[in-house]
């Protein structure tokens, strides 16, 4: 459920068509978006899950699945 919510945020923010697939292996970098979009998407994810992701943690994420795993860890621990 964490990943699905993140995928929705990304799809909505970037106004992506339904036929563009977003998977846990999708990375924000791979979507050819710039650093401004990355910051905005992260802010929206933080708002949606009511958490704050530390800047140093952000550098470790390789893909959307990593973000979902981190949020699961924070919310369920």
């Amino acid at each position: 459920m964490y990943f699905e919510k993140i995928a929705d945020i990304v799809r909505h923010h970037l106004a992506l068509d339904e036929n563009i697939e977003i998977t846990p292996a999708s990375s924000l970098k791979g979507m050819k978006i710039d650093s401004l979009d990355v910051v905005e998407i992260i802010m929206k994810i933080e708002d949606a899950f009511e958490i704050e992701i530390p800047d140093e943690k952000l550098k470790e994420f390789q893909n959307l699945g990593d973000i979902a795993d981190y949020i699961k860890l924070v919310k369920e621990s």
Binding site: A15, E40, M43
Partner: protein
């Protein structure tokens, strides 16, 4: 030698819709775009009216992926520019993009974004200010975004002279082409100021009409019962080309921009000089630049804001420059219908001015019902008038006492 500069494309976004035709037909019909403000609650405001653009939708013109990163004022400019591009039938694939540029004006830039993000800062903290705040709020972003959308790498600038911004922008683009530094320029301006701060701020200056009970009658330039201007919003884009460039692609030439004049009142931060010297010298400079004089001017598209101060002082300047001919020269204010769009006003007035040359009809100044002894020229009250127009002067005066006047001529003259 100075190159002649043609007007080959006109685009706009106004409360009457998208496009020159929608604007000019409504102006000629004498329609008012002023109504009660619907975009926010005006209960606490003395003024509750504006010429708002309702249901604006940039989607048919640009994908959401582009427009989501633009403030409303940039979206207006982008749509007006695309409209102008279609109007001028320019094929971007056959354009030397290093010789084509953009100069736009705006008074406030992305002020809705500024307000929204400031609210975020105060209510939710520094970490919740969007990274898009700066690229959406800074006033040069309309011109910057247009360059990106169309790939134009020529001169790209933004001019901020309050209500004269888009006149100075058109003048700067005109010089860019007449001096041979560019072949084609998009110019004009854009403004989206209908928000609580701007409404409250102009209200505090007692600059705005409070005729809330009769919105369509509130903007009444040159009328004795005028009580201030009405806030408007929109964008006007004019495409200028060197004659050689326009002729080489068989472009339709609406008119020629023949001259521009610029001056300062050097008098007061908001009030026009009661002697009208600044306005007068901008008019004289524009006529001189155009190699003409007032005897050739068939129409003045006035600044005509409907404030107590502007209208008699502008009238005085016209009389000083035109002499006895002032009484025989029609002077109109389209702000009587679309309100005052501040940094976009001069561009929309340029669209109207060029349209009078192309169509042979002068839109009226509506709501002119009670004559004012200090405003005693022919303002074409209430009803449009057919007339052959060869030369039009457009006036623009900004806070800070910054004045700009443009001269457009028929290519037959």
């Amino acid at each position: 030698m100075r190159k002649r500069v043609a007007v080959t494309g006109l685009g706009c976004v106004t409360p009457f819709g998208i496009g020159r035709r929608a604007l000019f037909e409504s102006l000629v019909a004498g329609r008012s775009a002023v109504s009660l403000i619907s975009s926010f609650d005006t209960s606490d405001f003395k003024t509750k009216i504006a010429a708002e653009i309702k249901d604006f939708d940039p989607d048919p013109y640009f994908p959401k992926s582009e427009t989501r990163r633009m403030d409303r004022f940039t979206q207006f400019a982008a749509v007006a520019a695309k409209d102008a591009l279609f109007d001028a039938k320019i094929d971007l694939n056959h354009l030397d993009k290093s010789r084509a540029g953009i100069i736009l004006g705006s008074g406030f830039g992305g002020i809705s974004t500024t307000l929204e993000q400031h609210k975020n800062l105060l209510e939710r903290g520094a970490r919740r200010v969007s990274p898009m705040c700066v690229p959406m709020m800074i006033p040069n972003m309309a011109a910057g975004n247009l360059a990106i959308l169309f790939g134009l790498r020529g001169p790209n600038e933004t001019i901020c002279t309050a209500c004269a911004s888009s006149s100075h922008a058109i003048a700067a683009a005109f010089r860019m082409i007449s001096s041979g530094k560019a072949d084609l320029m998009f110019c004009g301006g854009s403004e989206a100021p209908v928000n609580p701060l701007v409404l409250a701020a102009f209200s505090s200056m007692n600059a705005l009409s409070k005729r809330n009970g009769e919105p369509e009658k509130a903007s009444r330039p040159f009328d004795k019962e005028r009580d201030g201007f009405v806030l408007g919003e929109g964008s006007g884009i004019v495409i200028l080309e060197s004659f050689e460039h326009a002729l080489s692609r068989n472009a339709r030439i609406y008119a020629e921009i023949a001259g521009a004049g610029s001056s300062a009142d050097a008098y007061h931060i908001t009030s026009p000089d009661p002697d009208a010297k600044g306005a007068e010298s901008a008019m004289r400079a524009a006529l001189l630049d155009a190699g003409t004089d007032a005897s050739e001017v068939d129409l003045v598209v006035a600044h005509g804001t409907g404030t107590l101060a502007n209208d008699p002082i502008e009238t005085k300047a016209i009389k000083a420059v035109f002499g006895e001919k002032a009484y025989k020269t029609p002077v109109i204010s389209i702000k009587s219908m679309i309100g005052h769009t501040l940094g976009a006003a001069a561009a929309l007035e340029a669209v109207a001015a060029v349209s009078t040359i192309a169509e042979g009809v002068i839109p009226p100044t509506i709501n002119l019902e009670t004559p004012d002894s200090e405003c005693d020229l022919d303002y074409v009250p209430k009803l449009a008038r057919k007339a052959e127009i060869e030369c039009v002067m457009t006036d623009s005066f900004g806070f800070g006492g910054q004045n700009s006047v443009l001269i457009f001529k028929s290519v037959n003259s």
